[in-house]
């Protein structure tokens, strides 16, 4: 809860977000709420088949509908290709369709109803090809090629690709083959995780407007105005200087708004019509065309000596990437980097393949492959504990990475609060005291645990801090607040760095024309990477302020200190001070020029140390800064229905420093519940080429009644040495260990060992019945 004054404080206080009144009164404007004078509305036409060559289009009837301004098909789009890792995707299907539901044409009209009506009149002449619907089919030698031009596509990393394999990655340390012989206990199994929908309550959409000079302004639901700009310009072959990207409020992202959806379509329509064009996907279209979490198939093998020392782990993953690469090579590589878990396992080899199939693309989703491999890895830690008769928490504590230990591959870990997370979760949950319920009745109770780690250092970012004439401050970072609260956190960091009240700091809305580059609100990275830039830019402003103040007060700048409330004074002389106003007026009107400072950097810590590890096909050569966490979950399983429910949970997360503790709790709680949905109920289902549950009616996600109120967030602060005020990321880690903790709790409750997500009543019941039969 807040302090009495909602705008009281800087770093470490739970102030309300700066736009809270906008969001509470219905005035916050999201993409669907925007309009421009003379605006057209657009609708998409989707492919009825999964894999086909496009022979032609019949658009006459659609064009004849009164109120239709433009009909564009693949033939009307430039031959540019976009993609975060592999440039394999046109703005719209061109020459070929690669999944059922893929946009093949787009209509702009005077109203959405007219556009949708006209869209239904468009026919596409398709020559069907055999669809490739599973990764196993895609790997067959005689499998039809989904991307015939794969070898010639531009890739931004050393991609290993062949046939329908879009990417292959391997990371290894030690000698796994030799290590098995030294193990007293080895567990090996296969695991499977279902595709999960992000289900942001806001569907995707975009609005583009063109000026007389042909320059386009684009608003869209996004997680990075700069990724929007890059994707649109690559696919439409536009110079980046011809496209300005802005952001309205974002109705959450979780990864599905990081890379493109309909932005290139509205830009091309705006260019074709000369008028503003808005396109908002309906829920079904959003489900069918944007992106989802990758289904993983995982083979995992872990070995230990009888005293419980982990010795070796081998992980093999197979990812269904869908029709386009999108963020998938990153997800593959990152999942492998995480697959050893936060443990000292001297011998580990993690290898995986990402394959194209004729399904919609899969891409970034909170956790980025980590929750999937954590489900397998953390299940196996419990299995080893069980075989050795050890407490699963004790086994984890014995093997966990300790301060100073490096990550898998050799990357440096500067701060590690895992032991403290485990200690606090253990204490809060009274680990070891809760007896497993074996009372009569149909409900069995159990408890499970899992550890996790996740990065927050990745790629480029910047900040510009300006001092206005009256001494107030404008911060400009280009980081899009997707609802998680980065606007609040970055404002607090800036205010604390300059010792001014938060209400004296205005935050510029991201704008590709005026903001410094920010790769995006993704990878749990904004607080750490952008916060660091804010601190660095603020420091330059502080130096400039002191330089001016030194002139005014006739002293050396190093004798000066910032004082609370926008003042600078001589150390040890309380009454000798000037305000930021005096300084800024001098800078604006007399000497030196207005004070503005910027900082820009790219995360540059190597992911892999070649002296320790081998790596092939690595998508992220520079990644790091690790947050750690421990989740304990209590479940109740109904032995009649098989339904598992989480009754209480503890989530302890090491975030370095909680800039805004209530917002950190919000990330931990929200991450837990999204992870719980992934664990227990959420599953996108395909029947052949068709996604059969593309609606909120048929896709089940947690509601109030599925969610325990007793969800305890525990914030652990192990400062990251170069983080802003010690902070590191928290956006994703809270989700990562949840499926594994729940699976281990179900094991504890009813004796089954879940190896497939989600752990639905039907799957649990079947496993229980099979166990009964076996007994």
């Amino acid at each position: 809860m807040n302090e009495a004054n909602p705008f009281g404080g800087g770093v470490g206080t739970s102030i309300a977000r700066p736009d809270i009144r906008e969001k509470l009164t219905g005035r916050a404007r999201y993409i669907a709420d925007l309009s421009r004078p003379d605006m057209l509305h657009a609708a998409i036409v989707q492919s009825p088949v999964a894999h086909a060559r496009i022979k032609g289009y019949e658009t006459t009837a659609a064009r004849a509908v009164p109120g239709v301004a433009a009909v564009l098909t693949g033939e009307d789009f430039p031959d540019g290709r976009m993609g975060a890792f592999i440039k394999d995707e046109h703005a719209i299907a061109k020459g070929k369709v690669r999944y059922l539901g893929e946009p093949v044409a787009v209509v702009a009209a005077e109203s959405e109803a007219i556009a949708r009506h006209a869209a239904r009149l468009i026919e596409v002449d398709l020559e069907e090809l055999p669809p490739v619907l599973t990764p196993e089919e895609a790997l067959k030698e005689d499998s039809p090629a989904i991307h015939e031009g794969l070898e010639d596509y531009i890739k931004v990393f050393p991609a290993i690709c062949n046939g329908n394999v879009a990417s292959e990655t391997e990371i290894g340390e030690g000698d796994v083959e030799a290590a098995w012989a030294g193990c007293d206990v080895v567990v090996e199994d296969e695991y499977e995780t279902a595709p999960q929908a992000h289900l942001s309550i806001e569907p995707c959409g975009a609005l583009a407007e063109i000026d007389e000079a042909g320059r386009v302004t684009l608003w869209s639901a996004n997680q990075s105005v700069f990724r929007v700009q890059a994707n649109v310009c690559e696919s439409l072959k536009l110079p980046m200087s011809k496209l300005r990207c802005l952001t309205p409020k974002i109705g959450a992202g979780f990864g599905n708004k990081m890379e493109p959806h309909v932005q290139p379509l509205v830009v091309q329509l705006a260019i074709a019509t000369g008028r503003p064009v808005k396109l908002i996907l309906n829920r079904v279209e959003d489900f069918e065309t944007v992106r989802h979490r990758h289904p993983f198939k995982i083979r995992c093998k872990t070995g230990a000596t009888k005293d419980g020392t982990l010795v070796a782990r081998e992980v093999e993953v197979l990812l269904d990437g869908g029709a386009y690469g999108d963020d998938s090579p990153g997800v593959l590589g990152y999942s492998l980097l995480m697959a050893r878990g936060p443990y000292r396992i001297p011998n580990a080899r993690c290898h995986g393949r990402l394959v194209y199939t004729n399904k919609m693309r899969f891409g970034a989703f909170r956790g980025f492959g980590n929750p999937q491999v954590a489900f397998a890895g953390e299940t196996q830690i419990d299995e080893i504990a069980e075989k050795l008769g050890m407490d699963p928490l004790e086994l984890r504590l014995k093997n966990m990475l300790r301060p100073g230990d490096r990550w898998f591959g050799g990357g440096e870990v500067a701060s590690n609060g895992l032991a403290e997370c485990a200690a606090q979760a253990r204490r809060a949950a009274r680990w070891g005291e809760a007896a497993t319920d074996r009372s009569p009745g149909t409900v069995r109770r159990g408890r499970g645990i899992a550890f996790a780690a996740h990065i927050s250092g990745l790629l480029g970012t910047g900040a510009i801090v300006r001092l206005l004439e009256d001494g107030s401050v404008v911060l400009n970072t280009g980081a899009v607040d997707i609802g998680q609260g980065s606007d609040t956190v970055l404002t607090q960091i800036c205010a604390s760095a300059l010792k001014v009240p938060v209400e004296q700091v205005a935050l510029a809305s991201p704008d590709t024309d005026g903001s410094p580059y920010n790769w995006g609100t993704t990878a749990s990275r904004v607080t750490y990477t952008t916060g660091r830039s804010v601190v660095a830019a603020a420091k330059k402003v502080e130096d400039a302020i002191k330089s001016h103040a030194g002139e005014i007060l006739e002293c050396a700048p190093h004798d000066l200190e910032l004082r609370d409330g926008g003042k600078v004074g001589v150390k040890g002389v309380p009454d000798k001070e000037v305000s930021f106003i005096d300084v800024s007026l001098r800078a604006h009107w007399a000497a030196g020029g207005p004070i503005v400072a910027n900082d820009s950097w790219v995360f540059n810590q190597p992911s892999v140390d070649p002296k320790r590890a081998v790596a092939r096909g690595l998508p992220f050569p520079q990644i790091g800064v690790y947050s750690f966490g421990c989740v304990i979950a209590d479940v109740a399983v109904d032995t009649v229905t098989g339904k598992a429910e989480v009754t209480e949970a503890w989530s302890a997360m090491d975030v370095g420093r909680a800039i805004n503790p209530a917002s950190v709790e919000g990330q931990i709680e929200g991450g837990f519940v999204q992870g719980m949905g992934f664990a227990l109920m959420e599953e996108l289902v395909w029947d052949g080429p068709r996604l059969v549950n593309p609606s909120m009616m048929d896709y089940k996600a947690p509601t109030f009644r599925d969610t325990p109120y007793a969800l305890h967030s525990i914030i652990v602060e192990e400062p990251e040495p170069d983080g802003p005020f010690g902070a590191k990321g928290v956006g994703e880690i809270g989700l990562v260990p949840v499926p594994a903790a729940i699976a281990n709790a179900i094991r504890n409750a009813v004796g089954i060992r879940p190896r497939k997500l989600p752990m639905t009543p039907e799957r649990n019941l079947r496993s229980m019945l099979e166990a009964d039969d076996a007994a």
Binding site: L24, T25, R27, G483, A662, S695, M697, L711
Partner: protein, 160 residues
């Protein structure tokens, strides 16, 4: 498309409109009256982001036809604050940090506002039941429950 004339009170203002018989209340509010607070999340009555009150009862804007609201009193999220003063549940949502992306918030607020008129000291279970038709993907729900209880507590303090 044939239209019908409809007279309703929206957030205390009398409105007379000609609307197609197929137009939903959500479309009327958003497209004709520029009240974009209520959101279109699923357009099939599941997510609750379009919740508004019709004669004091929370309804799905996306499933309600405007022509059925003739003579009704409609309240949207824009009508919850009294001038510049936030209603109890709005202030409580701010104080418990229950708002993240804010897209579910308008519907959540309206459902909670209507619920709090009936329930003076709601339990966690009662809140979970009452709000179970409003999905939130960001918060994990706990802070929203805290907000509803805080608003109820404050309201009880004022009236006692």
């Amino acid at each position: 498309m044939s239209g019908l004339s409809v007279a309703m009170t929206v957030n205390g203002q009398d409105r007379s409109l000609d609307v197609p018989v197929t137009q939903t209340l959500l479309e009327t509010l958003r497209d004709q009256l520029a009240l974009t607070g209520a959101k279109r999340g699923c357009n099939q009555g599941v997510c609750g982001a379009c919740t508004v009150m019709v004669d004091g009862k929370p309804v799905r804007g996306c499933l309600s036809l405007t022509v059925n609201c003739d003579g009704a009193e409609v309240t949207t999220v824009e009508g919850l604050a009294d001038g510049g003063a936030l209603s109890g549940i709005q202030q409580a949502m701010a104080d418990t940090n229950a708002v993240q992306c804010g897209f579910c918030t308008p519907g959540m607020l309206v459902s909670a506002f209507a619920f709090l008129r009936e329930a003076k000291t709601p339990s966690v279970e009662e809140i979970q039941y009452a709000l179970s038709g409003n999905l939130c993907r960001c918060s994990g729900y706990r802070k929203i429950i805290d907000a509803v209880q805080l608003a109820a507590d404050r309201s009880a303090e004022v009236s006692s």
